[in-house]
Amino acid sequence: MTQSRARALLLTPAGLWYAAMLLLPLAVVLIFSFGERSAIGGYAPGFTFEQYANLPARFAAFRNTLTLAPVGTLAALLIAYPLAYFLAVKVSPKWKTMLLVLVIVPFWTSILIRSYAWIFLLGGKGIPALLEVIGLDDVRLLNTPFAVLVGIVYGYLPLMVFPIYVALEKLDKRLLEAAADLGTPPWRAFLQITLPLSMPGVLTGSMLVFILLMGEFLIPAILGGGKVFFVGNALVDLFLQSRNWAFGSAVAVALVVVMLITVGIYTRLVKRFGASRDDVGLM
């Protein structure tokens, strides 16, 4: 058997899998988005831009997603950066691996249960009860945008720490020594050396978190209590409750387009700041 025949044979199952379960479904979504809703729900064939024209009907979902996703990404970044810096620069090698693993592990455990945990902490007997002790009465946290934000930061922090850590770890410490020798104060060295050189990690982490947030459903569903809903929640409603598949498909296509634009901007930024390819691996 020739090598190329062997290769083709090895690739066939994966190729069929991708064709049947990735390409076909994505094509169906694209086709359906130009169709109509049939009288009994589901899909009726057609070619119309009606569904796309109707997108403003889900404006609130897009607005919530496109405000809370960037705010959540930024909050995660601000919390993650000092930790990544600490892990990359200050921690002794002996503890480094263990502390890193401790950051990553939560990301691979059920986000459903991790979000559920915040129902306690933000609910009546949790943090609000503590606030009452210091005199702040009637603070409501659960089912507010703040609760969703906390859930977002909690859920995606690990994904942000890791790429920044990788970027900071690669940083040549001699640059900082040289800066110190030349009399640069530490804060200026940080702003002029460390921060720019860690930009690739910052960009990668931000993009990963932002992209995942765009499709988020669970966190708003559990901590937003139906009041703070994302595009993901609108999609669940359109496909499982009101069964308007044509419109739902248009919303899904719009979501993917917004995502692709984000990735496009990211690629542009990376070209400007220069990034390495191996920042993405999470294990």
């Binding site: 994966a14 076909l24 169906v28 000092p82 600490f86 693993v101 691979w108 598949w245 979501l255 294990m283």
Partner: protein
């Protein structure tokens, strides 16, 4: 700085810890600690709905992880050292599968499968009396699509760090390509394959959003937990949550150890 790190770790682990703590409560309240008992674990393990959902989740996770590991490893072997259009196409497919949000994969799979079933079922039913419908099968296929891509990335990464001299030496010593593969290459990539399997299992076991769309009449454990949360929090859910977390934690630790070993081998 150190204090800050402690605070972040507390933020990461406190909520999980509180669930675990409350799961041992003896009282009926889900948000107060009243004595110590294991009764909620007993309650959960004797609940037929929980056990059936657990069994569905384990079955789906195991089968999808096995399929994803085998097919993904085969693809990774073929792709290593390959150039040209096929390689580019597969790189793109892996990237798309990893990047597209789970929710979009979920709805796309739902409407595609339902449409295909609607087309195929009339004559399939006439021919065999059987009908295709959403269920474990479609869930295994949908989970496997994502996890297969993870396996491809992990195994290909390992393959690219392999020492080519070993493979040449094996060939020079008269081993057949098959013999070289099983005796030289395979043992070296095995840790990466096993780690891929464990990650695939963990992903499928924990996934809610794809299952929510594709599982049809089947209930997986995350779907059960989600619908229970909607009805209110109970110590029983705390107990289930704690067990699920403990199980994924165990898998992750093993996966990490395997990956560490494979990296250590690569350095030697």
């Amino acid at each position: 700085m150190k204090l800050y790190a402690w605070a972040v770790y507390a933020f990461l682990y406190l909520p999980i810890g509180i669930i675990a703590l409350f799961s041992f409560s003896a009282g009926r309240s889900a948000s107060q600690m009243q004595g110590f008992s294991l009764q909620w674990y007993g309650r959960a393990l004797n609940n037929p709905f929980v056990m059936e959902a657990l069994w569905t989740s384990v079955r789906v996770a195991f089968l999808s992880a096995v399929l994803a590991t085998v097919v993904g490893t085969m693809a990774a072997l073929a792709l290593t050292g390959m150039r040209g259009r096929t390689r580019k196409v597969f790189d793109l497919l892996v990237q798309i599968a990893v990047m597209i949000p789970g929710i979009v994969i979920g709805i796309a799979t739902l409407i595609a499968l339902v449409s295909v079933f609607d087309l195929v079922n009339p004559w399939l039913e006439g021919l065999t009396g059987w009908k295709l419908s959403l269920g474990s099968g479609s869930l295994i296929a949908a989970h496997g699509l994502f996890t297969m891509s993870l396996v491809v990335l992990l195994v290909r990464g390992r393959m690219e760090t392999l020492d080519g001299a070993l493979i040449e030496a094996s060939g020079d010593l008269g081993a057949t390509p098959m013999g070289t593969f099983w005796q030289v290459t395979f043992p070296q990539i095995l840790p990466a394959i096993l780690a891929g399997f464990l990650l695939a299992f963990t992903f499928s076991f924990d996934d809610f959003i794809i299952a929510f769309f594709v599982a049809g009449a089947e209930t997986t454990l995350p779907i059960y937990v989600f619908s229970s949360i909607r009805r209110g929090v109970t110590p029983e859910i705390n107990a289930i949550g704690t067990m699920v977390m403990a199980a994924s934690l165990l898998m992750l630790i093993v996966a990490q150890l395997l990956l560490r070993r494979s990296q250590a081998q690569a350095r030697r």
